[in-house]
């Protein structure tokens, strides 16, 4: 069986996998990092989004062997060691950008890549278009968009902390 060596949330792991093992299976079943969800398993819903070498990918549509030697960040790897949330996580909490929470890990990971890819800042419309690969069946996206708009200001250093959520 092929061996895969990768860094997940800063920690090195060497894992035996099959050729067909998906990255999301490695994360959930071998490393027990179950924050990454499997929604559709057909690369449409985005619940499984993680970062590979800094960019968002659907972990259900990439093989574990393809990530050999790579750096992976999952939702578990965002908060600081002392528990301080990443600005995007904090914004999702502050703006109540979730209901059932199933899509949330993928939403947060996609949103961070989206903000990093747009240092110039995004309009509401650009945020909505940028979320094309993530489905949420509860919220109607409204508060998710507000949270990302607020988090981008913090991530780009335009604000030191989140503006209070609109009532």
């Amino acid at each position: 069986m092929p061996q895969v060596t990768l860094t997940v949330n800063g920690k090195n792991s060497t894992v035996e996998v099959e050729g067909r093992t998906l990255l999301v299976e490695l994360l959930r079943e071998k490393l027990r990092l179950t924050g990454t969800h499997v929604g559709c398993d057909t690369s449409q819903c985005g619940a499984c989004v993680v970062h590979v070498d800094g960019e968002s990918v659907k972990a259900c549509t990439i093989l574990a062997v393809q990530v050999d030697g790579g750096q992976v960040t999952t939702i578990e790897g965002l908060a600081a060691a002392d528990g301080t949330l990443h600005p995007m996580q904090e914004a999702f909490r502050e703006y109540h950008a979730l209901q059932c929470g199933f899509c949330t890990p993928g939403m947060v990971m996609s949103a961070i890549d989206l903000v990093q890819k747009h240092p110039e800042g995004m309009s509401e419309r650009e945020i909505r278009e940028g979320l094309e690969g993530n489905l949420c069946r509860c919220t109607g996206y409204h508060n998710i968009v507000k949270a990302i708009a607020a988090a981008q200001d913090v991530m780009h250093g335009k604000r030191s902390e989140l503006a209070r959520a609109a009532e």
């Binding site: 092929p2 099959e18 050729g19 067909r20 998906l22 398993d41 057909t42 690369s43 985005g46 989004v49 960019e55 968002s56 990918v57 659907k58 549509t61 990439i62 093989l63 062997v65 393809q66 050999d68 996609s110 890549d113 989206l114 890819k117 940028g130 094309e132 690969g133 993530n134």
Partner: protein, 264 residues
Amino acid sequence: MYDFDYHKPSSVADAVKLLSADPDARAISGGQTLLPALKHRLNRPTYLVDLSGIAELRGVKREGDKITVGAMTRHIEVQNSPEVKSAIPALAYMATVIGDIQVRNRGTMGGSVANNDPAADYPSAVLGLGATVVTDKRRIAADDYFQGMFTTALEPGELLVAIEFPIPEKAGYAKMRNPASRYVMAGVFVAKTKDGVRVVVNGAGPGVFRQTDMEQALSANWSPDAVAGIKQASEGLNSDIHGSAEYRAHLVSVMAKRAVTDAG
């Protein structure tokens, strides 16, 4: 998914050797189409040959009046390439409307053009710009390359290594997406090149094709109004739950008009 072995060569020569050694071996580039197909057990490869370790297949370069895109160049790289944005903005724009960010972070131009899915975007730019498909063995003109649904001139074991796009005077692309699946219902790529006007339709039929009535009209008068009144015949176009052949034929005229407007 059935299990398979996995190889990751670091040169085109080694990849071709592996792909030629076994007719059931498959190349994997970004995997955004192949992996879903494998999950459905539509394919049972003995082993996958991962092309991502081959440096010579990556990147965009401008040489004289052409832009060469390496087969393993990802959509996100085409979208952000300064060379593509300045020389063929319609091609950079096309990359921005493929799939979603996660697909664009993985999917490659070579994978799309080698697969020739009727719902793919790049084939219309390749044919519309009169590009040349470069393989490990030969150079294939776009007019000879696309041969219908999921079919190309590539032979078993032959590897697509790059695509050379002549820089056009102007070009534009417009597509109508299915509101749910987001796949193209009908798209049109228009280009004014030094060898004449080319108009290519994608998504509406089983493969990309040139719309010669529109090419003639635009040659005489490059304006959106010149194509707005030209009707695409519906015979042979796709008809499914998402739209009838007649609807797609109608969309071709609308998309052609938008593509010419965008080209300026």
